[in-house]
Symmetry: D2
Subunit: 141 residues, 4 copies
């Protein structure tokens, strides 16, 4: 079973658009931040360390699906609840649910892969199998 | 049949992350920009005008689904091809395909609604039926 | 004497650029957020309330001067210490000092004005004298 | 004499805040983009190439001073005129003036340095003397 980790956000004025509500790509930003925070809280070292020790550059996105139920505005305090809903050989899916108090504002499901730079090609990236030790860190004992 | 409109983007250094590739919420930003650009190119007035004349605040997102095939980096010139793939009573879906030269880097499908502020509630928004005249402007003659 | 208010930031992966360090406009974003947070913590209502009660739209920037001493990277926890260093008739200056632990990473000085929309011109803004009651809230008793 | 290079921007809806005007850190973003575009148009290779051939990671900011005269809003087309106003031993200053048609909206002056990563320290950066060949590329014949 995947752990669940909560990431907190306070919406800034500049996160909002002329309609006075959060400009939606900022929800993507917070899901991305919560994705990384999930790994950090599970005990996975930061990418800058993994790139040195194992060549892992990060976990870029392959697919995302999000639904938006209620808008948010500046001053709101949001919680992003994140867990891994599926592990496959080379990809995994994280589920993010964003709350203000007890109300779900939006939810998103991101499919990602661990990637490395192919030898000698620092501008390209390549998926590797999900590392078993990282997966183990993300699961309840 | 929906018109198709192309929006052009040149990727900035600051659009990219420590892996050297576009930070994915920026693709959402460009899809959002292309969504609005689509309406403008079809002859729909800007929201700041529609809010005065008809109370329409914009077209916030209800649902988005995107898939990412290849990364982009700074200096790349991208084209976002946008059309409306479905009109329903109160919502519509726009399809965005992002190219670098002839290669598809990602594609996204956004479901949106036209919204107004309910009377006396400037912080809330409410969907209205898709205006027939706006829909007509977006279709080929 | 002006109060001093601290705003906290945790740097996200996506706040950093291909050099692995914070993309500098994000420091501007955090100073802007800390500017508003300062007023909120001093007891000034949010703009969305002030626009209704007094027509005040916000405090746009007239001038900014920032110096950068050390870079930051993702995972860093930063503190922005903000106070008002000068009140004049129609403008005021906020000083922001950004720390990681005890090290000053950058400091910025923003000159702003309280603005309203001129009657009938929702796309224009106009400076008003600094409201005396707001100024009083921002000072130590 | 420094060359002058123009960078063009079309303001997006999402670049604007609840007051309906450009959120000011976006002006910083465009100045940063214009800074890099200046070097590219002068014939300087992109950082991703310079880091391989000469270890140069980029030109991070040491100091910025900007003044804002008029706001901009979405749909506006802006031009950023950029030149180098001063070259010193280890730093240089770029001047950016942002226009909408013939009206100056804001101007900024950025002081930057060319930096490398010190040997074995990929998370730190260090200024080097302004490379003479790069400086020559940026000046009129």
């Amino acid at each position: 079973m995947s752990k669940t980790v909560v990431y907190e956000v306070e919406v800034m004025f500049g996160d909002c658009d002329p309609a006075g509500i959060v400009f939606y790509p900022n929800f993507s930003k917070w899901m991305d931040a919560s994705s990384l925070n999930f790994f950090r809280q599970c005990g996975v070292p930061p990418w800058r360390e993994l790139i040195r020790t194992r060549g892992i550059v990060g976990t870029p996105l392959l697919e995302v699906r999000s639904r938006f139920f209620h808008p948010a505005s500046y001053g709101d305090r949001l919680r992003v609840r994140t867990h891994v809903s599926e592990w496959r050989a080379k990809v995994f899916t994280q589920q993010h649910v964003i709350y203000r108090d007890d109300r779900v504002l939006c939810e998103g499901s991101e499919t990602r892969a661990f990637v490395v730079h192919p030898p000698g090609e620092p501008d390209r990236i390549q998926a590797i199998p999900v590392p078993a030790d990282i997966r183990a860190l993300c699961c309840d004992a």
